[in-house]
Amino acid sequence: MSGLSLSHEPVSGVAHGKLAMWAFLASEIMFFSGFFGAFIVLRNSNLDVFSASAAELNKWLALVNTIVLIGSSLTMALSILQLQKGNVKLFRLFMGLTILCGLIFLVVKTVEYSGKFHHVLDEHEIMHLRNGVPPNPDALLPGINPSTNVFFAFYFLMTGFHAIHVIAGLIPMVFMFVKSFTKGGYNHPVKVESLGLYWHFVDLVWIFLFPILYLIFPAH
């Protein structure tokens, strides 16, 4: 670049994209904090309903999802490493694996959701999950849905927003993956690194969602 150098090198030593991503992640932490804070409050006041509802969830599907997501975090980190080394082929491989994991996660999530929507509450469940209140016939979604009780409202809210984050992460990933096949290849390590930060954050949220929604309620 000749002439002016007004577009300075990052003063803080962290690339713009990465720094912006960190600032955005701080914001994301606060976003989920709002949910978690509300969750703690309402869990304390609805303990029975929460226990009974958590038992309805399929913790094995969630375990699969946990492993898939952790795995995708690894492949993401590796793909960043490979791109920094300039090894586009391995970058492509690991990025592809990450996308695959993300897709598996979404498929499992869809299976889980549709299981809920197809689940019709029986008398016993109405008693325990809804304190005897009959389900709302006007509910927008069938079966078990956010209007079933506060626990399921949180379940759909938190996992739903998490899934939206997964989808939002997959879109640029697919873009990078496809781009890496083109003639020019893909060589923006900072962008991949920033996206990696985001992806790890998505993983992080799941690491907390998994125990608080699926695990830490006694099964009996």
């Binding site: 600032a23 606060m30 690491i207 006694p218």
Partner: protein, 105 residues
Amino acid sequence: MASTHQHDDAHDHQKDYIKVIMWLLIFTALTVAAALDWIPASWGDYGNKLHIGIGLLIAFAKAAMVVYIFMHIKFDQKFIRLFIGIPLFLFSVMVFAFTALESFY
């Protein structure tokens, strides 16, 4: 430009990552195992609390590993820790006030 030093010790990173993923999987197994029905019902509320304690402790340990190694907090500039520290502080303020909301009625 962003990471000249990272090229040099790339191999180390790879090793780190593998180590971390092993631990993450072990912890996942542990947390699922802890969620099984092993606490005697006679422990009552303490059993529940123990249950929650273990679950959250493991979750925090896993999260710390992801943040530290995968997200490179360990290797990056120190001030980046603020981007996690400040929100966590505000979250704790929030939780403190929210739980006080219940203790009265």
